[in-house]
């Protein structure tokens, strides 16, 4: 991992010099890659994130046994700290100024769990792309769900937050749309996606994406023989990082597994009272009370009041989706500002449109451009 000083690169770009600025080597990881990768020559250092104060960098790096370990390096030193144990495979992590939360699979516990599923024969056999051979040959027999665990790291200590009986098996994949993991500003709550085991009958009313009718929700237990388990329905859940209690944040699935290709994000308001979720359906009762008729599309962005779980949609997919799974106008950014929520849309021509939403009589509505200007919002 290399670091550049932006000012030097900027100076070079504005100059006629041919002396290019040189980077500084910040951290090095050496291991034979064992994790699945979509591209050759992928680095074993991934998921680079800066600390909010710009003083240090977090990243995950594969170790010799293939587990991704969370590490941290400060800019003013070359000391590299590894924050997670060697038997923890870090799948996702998120940082705030006070706390760090991560989702990991414990390889020792996973091995015991896998042994109970299908024994030990050929367990380690993998295809060249690192997918277990058994999963390819025998999707049902070879399906090996992984037990993901939620951890926090604070005050130099790791703490297993989620309760074992709360953990659900799921197929861990590198889904670029899954950006759901977040932690509240005070570190008390964490949000992530979790696989559902029993799907309510009423959920078949949710409308799949236009060209993905086969993805309509099938009620009942989710079958293990879904290829690799990647088609499992998931929903946003909220975990109390102190008690470890986990419960559904929105009683509805996210849109991704019904064919809606958009990021699934969760973002907290500064006071920790509101949550901004993207690409999720709303609970059916909330949909009915909003007066929505016809097919039930997911919500491109919704705001949840954490204490009451009241959820309200800011923008529906249906307004953008047309006949395609991917709307011509994409949600590029969703964030809280001091006056409300700003959704930034962009199209393939790189033209962006920012819309300000603010509460008015306990209802979220889009502000007019004039009003947005008056509220001192500028994109």
């Amino acid at each position: 991992m290399w670091i550049y000083r932006s000012s030097r690169v900027g100076g070079f770009l504005r100059s006629r010099s041919t002396l290019v600025p040189r980077p500084r080597l910040l951290a090095t990881a050496r291991a034979e890659p064992k994790q699945f990768s979509h591209a050759p020559y992928s680095s074993i250092i991934t998921n680079v994130q800066w600390s909010p104060d710009s003083r240090s960098i977090y990243f995950v790096a594969q170790s010799r046994n293939g587990n991704r370990r969370l590490s941290n390096v400060f800019l003013n030193s070359t000391n590299l700290r590894t924050l997670t144990a060697d038997d923890e495979d870090v799948v996702q992590y998120v940082i705030t100024s006070k706390t760090l939360a991560y989702v990991a699979v414990n390889s020792a516990r996973q091995r015991r769990y896998a042994d109970t599923l299908r024994g030990t024969i050929n367990r380690d056999t993998v295809a060249p792309d690192s997918v277990a051979l058994a999963k390819i040959l025998f999707p049902h027999e070879g399906y090996e769900p992984q037990m993901t665990e939620l951890w926090t790291w604070a005050r130099e200590r790791n703490r297993h937050v989620s309760k074992t009986h709360d953990e659900r098996p799921e197929q861990v994949i590198d889904d670029p749309f899954d950006k759901a993991l977040s932690i509240s500003p005070n570190g008390r709550y964490s949000v992530r996606l979790r696989t559902l085991t029993d799907v309510p009958d009423a959920w078949s009313a949710y409308e799949p994406a236009p060209n993905e009718k086969h993805l309509r929700v099938v009620p009942g237990m989710q079958a293990d023989d879904v290829l690799f388990g990647v088609g499992f329905l998931k929903q946003f859940v909220l975990t109390d990082t102190i008690s470890g209690k986990t419960e559904a944040l929105v009683q509805a699935p996210v849109g991704r597994y019904l064919g809606y290709a958009a990021n699934m994000e969760s973002k907290w308001s500064a006071d920790g009272q509101l949550l901004l979720l993207t690409n999720t359906f709303l609970p059916l009762d909330a949909t009915a009370s909003s007066g929505q008729r016809g097919p039930i599309y997911p919500c491109l962005a919704a705001v949840v009041e954490v204490s009451t779980r009241h959820v309200e949609c800011l923008q529906h997919f249906a307004d953008l989706v047309g006949t395609s799974n991917v709307p011509a106008t994409k949600l590029q950014d969703a964030r809280f500002v001091h006056t409300g929520v700003v959704l930034t849309f962009g199209d393939s021509f790189h033209t962006g449109t920012a819309i300000l939403y603010r509460t008015e009589q306990n209802k979220w509505t889009a502000a007019s451009p004039e009003e947005a200007s008056r509220l001192h919002f500028h994109d």
Partner: protein, 269 residues
């Protein structure tokens, strides 16, 4: 006597003269007037081929050399008393080095004296027009063909009337082995300054995963480039695919371990 498991046997009598040769002539060994104790030289049956990625076929020419010995029959004697050495080489049955539209080269040797000189391995390129395919293979004009040296030694000891023990050693070593390097590996972080010339900001030895680049002129879009919240720094991650090269090379190049072959007497004494 017949070699097994991909190892052909050169049979020699106790005086060191050959009574059989490689592969197709090994039947002669079966009808040779065997003496009770003899030594044989085991050899690999053919030069190995290896296929690199993207259709580049690599030939391993295989001159062979070996050391063999024979022992005068003497009861109770367990140490060879007289050794003879010989050198022998054999070219591979496939001679084609590389081929493709616009490129073809080949060279073969037959009964050439040893040692093989460096100049004999300088394959020249012979472009053949017209080029009628959309795909063309382009090699540097100074490209030197890879080759593999292989050597072996074997000692065989008959055990009783119907069995023999053969201990063989087979070694090989590759030279000038090709390494397939994706063009993307050489592409690195680019920036265009006011001179309008794109400059490499980074040393080209390090690979950066290029598949996520949507536009080379907009490297800031790369997902592995991350700016600090205050904008003062940015980091990016590169990779060196050493592990890939070490996995390709053993196809034709690493020294083989000791090879063992069992032999059994066939026929009537």
């Amino acid at each position: 006597m017949e070699g097994q498991g991909g190892v052909n046997t050169v049979c020699r009598d106790s005086m060191g003269s050959c009574t059989g040769t490689y592969g197709s002539e090994r039947q002669r060994c079966l009808h040779a007037p065997w003496r009770r104790r003899e030594s044989c030289i085991a050899d690999l049956s053919a030069a190995r081929y290896s296929t690199l990625e993207h259709g580049v076929v690599q030939l391993c020419a295989a001159p062979r050399s070996g050391v063999g010995g024979s022992r005068e029959p003497r009861m109770g004697d367990s140490v060879p008393r007289r050794w003879r050495s010989f050198l022998r080489y054999r070219h591979s049955s496939g001679d084609l080095g590389y081929t493709g539209i616009g490129f073809q080269t080949s060279k073969s040797y037959s009964a050439a004296p040893l040692p093989i000189t460096a100049s004999e391995f300088d394959f020249s390129t012979t472009p053949v027009a017209p080029y009628t395919s959309n795909n063309a293979y382009i090699f540097p004009s100074h490209l030197q063909a890879p080759y593999t040296l292989e050597w072996n030694a074997a000692v065989q000891q008959s055990l009783g009337k119907s069995q023999a023990l053969t201990i063989s050693y087979v070694g090989s070593s590759g030279r000038r082995l090709l390494q397939f390097v994706t063009a993307a590996v050489a592409l690195v972080l680019l920036a265009t300054n006011v001179t309008g010339r794109a400059q490499h900001l980074f040393d080209a030895r390090d690979a950066i995963e290029m598949s996520r680049f949507s536009n080379l002129n907009q490297p800031e879009e790369h997902s592995l480039i991350s700016f600090s919240p205050d904008g003062r720094y940015f980091v990016f991650v590169t990779s060196r695919g050493v592990w890939l090269r070490t996995r390709l090379n053993p196809e034709c190049g690493s020294t083989a371990p000791v090879a063992w072959a069992d032999s059994f007497a066939v026929g009537r004494r």
